[in-house]
Amino acid sequence: MRTDHIIFGTVLGNNFGAHHGAWRMPHVDPSSYTNIDATLQQARAAERGGLQFIFLPDRLFLHDDLATSAPTFNMDPIVTLAALVHGTRRIGLVGTASTSFTEPYLLARQLKVLDVISHGRAGWNAVPSYEPDAFANFGRQLPPREKKYERLHEAMQVVHALWGSWERGAGQPDQAGMYADPAHIRPVDLQGRHVGARGPLPVPPSEQGQPVVVMPLSSGYGLQAAGMYADVVIAMPMSVEEGRAQRLAVREAARQAGRGPDDIKFVVFAGVTVGHTRRAALDKRRALDDRIDIRGPLARLGAVLGLRQPFERPDEPLDSALVDALQPRPNDARSLRAVELAKAGHTPRDILAHAVLDPYPALVGTAEQAAGFLQAWFEAEAADGFMMCFDDFHTDIDAFVDHVVPLLRERGLFLGNEQAMTLRGNLGIGWNPGQGASIRTTKA
């Protein structure tokens, strides 16, 4: 059973793009990094195309090589989303916030207020942090894995309870009567080992009730938690088969948590670079690749192809004898694809330009090819939707919206964000006011 129509989110972040060369493109202002106007412009491009939400990832420590590229994340996601509320009307605003460091009361408050001021467009990508460097930024040691999920469960339950503590039944302020009905605004009185809150949280429900919860796919404890709390699960399967399997696992996790399998939408990361021809699209990617040190990616490509030596001539097709001997790594979709491209006579640089090394499936080609790629995943039930990762936020969002989205609309696969006024509505998910808060047990 599949969702009726494709869900699209798009990753934003450092105002440049997923590709480390994007900041050096001539049409990009390199100081965009701190420019909220650029973020807004990119969000509006996505909104124009009807995409259901924008997504701000996060990482609570410096991970990237500052010498050559912009950190993938910079401004605080929730604050950034608040700055985008006024300039957008329909697109959902999903931001990442760790469950590990912020007091649930403060998290619940910021997220719910974002939801209220955006009239029901907010979403929370709830992630437990696991990196030692992230914990060091809060002066703490990395906890054992099961404790990470212990705090996540407690934080999720407190946040959900606080969100629900001001019920719709409290009504609207009536100048001739009550401001709000206290019978429907009640304490939550939760206390766990890590966190707790008395409540209530004095923030009324939004048009969608409360923020949508997004969670990354994880195994074991993480999958169980997603089954309990998530409205959307985001994942990075590298093949249709992997996507199908993960999607089924998520639906099963929902069932285990006493929910309907359709209650959780499964959204996979994907990349698209569009050109009038495949060659034109490859050249777009090449232009970006020209602005980074390509030696690292070439070395990784060599490894993926099973070669032991660096490419001597990356701008020439591989030696035919070498090509005949190539064996893709088993169960490695990237390796399979790279070998295919090598056998088709592409040069190493062009193989890279096909985005084979991207950590998610990516299509570099025409709008038809891109639409076909997304359609195939969707119709194979490997995804309910896609989290788009564009190389260059300044150009690729518009290109996707102008050329690929219309094809999907024509094919009846995409309806856009005009279906409903809220994120929840545009994702086709309901609101269960008790969800998350009513679950008390933390299964070990």
Binding site: P26, P30, T34, I36, L60, I78, G139
Partner: protein, 443 residues
Amino acid sequence: MTTKQMLIGMGFGNGYGSQAGAWRWPGVDPKAWTDFDTLVRYAQMAERGKFQFLFMPDFQSMKGDIATDPQQVIMEPMMTLAAVARATTRIGLVATGSTTFNEPFNLARQFKALDLMSHGRVGWNAVPTSDPVIAANYGRDLPPRNEKYERLHEVVQIVQSLWGSWEQDAWLHDQKSGRFADPAKARPVNLRGRHVASAGPLVLPPSAQGQPVIFQAGGGSQGEEVAGRYASGVIGAVFTIDDARAQRLALRAAAERAGRDPDEIKFLAGVMTTIAPDRRAALDRRIAINGEALGQRAGYLGQMLGLSLTSAPLDSPLSPAQLAAARPSPYDPRSRHALKIAQEGWTLRDVLAHGVVDYHPTVSGPPVELANHMQEWFEAGAADGFWLNVDVFEDGLPPIVDEVVPILQDRGLFHRDYAGSTLRDHLGAPAQYGRDPRLGHEG
């Protein structure tokens, strides 16, 4: 230095106004608390009046009787700042962020991000939490006072260090050479105190003002020390010129002790405003706004004067016997002023409508009265400026912007326009990036 002029800020409370009954006032949208378009409109009005800053208090717990009154603070300060920053260009944006239950890394990142987005207009009112009901929302007890202040100092120092951890010239963004930034100039801070610690760095470049400015409020002698060390602005709550002057001088002395120039610390006295054509109209307005709630304050007034007034008739003045028996409380600085008003023969309701039981001096009358109050305090050295608590924003703010401000400008007491573009500029605060090198950092 140029002729000294006063600073004016505005308390940006709950979207209705400073009076609990403001939400019922005709012309006020009762849903303004959740409607950011309204908040933005009021912020823009304040900017039209050339106010140097908006000040957002915070209280992380539900308070009061929600059946009759809204919350007195904004839903959430950082979200408000982000929205208002987009719709304004000059006015400073000062938000309260508690140092007690908040992580320095989160505070540092959110405040600096806002500072970047607003092009250098943000201030952080760094205060500890003092109410146990708030602590309960974190599942904790309130720490003892000394610990709270110890943590506050650690938090402020770590936050400022994180702000400075991406050095001012670290960001190269050189497209030709491909050098994005100099990693040697974005280094960890690796600070550890007794209560909090953080490694850093924080990957945010300097804002137009480098980093947010620090504000401070309350806290007695420990608060004074905090202000002396870090604050460019102090949000005051004082009722008399003498008290204000004493506090201002104490703050200046505290700044000097910390190694700073006393002119760097600006003391802002609170004023509650009601603008109307004359005193009678102003009192009637306050009576109408407050409704039943006004009479309920008779008990407080009684305590201030050593009288029992809970059942006293609201429509009569205090009797000669009551006035003779009145003893203004030495513990409540509002008491002498309250007695003076009562002695003028106003009815009890009118006495209360003068705002004698409010948190700051109340000026009720025509625009020139507010201008005179501010001038008197400013010229007496009682304050470097004021933060205004407007009774009802919708119709109480325009007369301040349109009538009070021009009076002060014509008298040369308030600027006609923003000379600079950042909050640091507006306050005349010196450049600072990272921690203040003049302070002795024992931690």
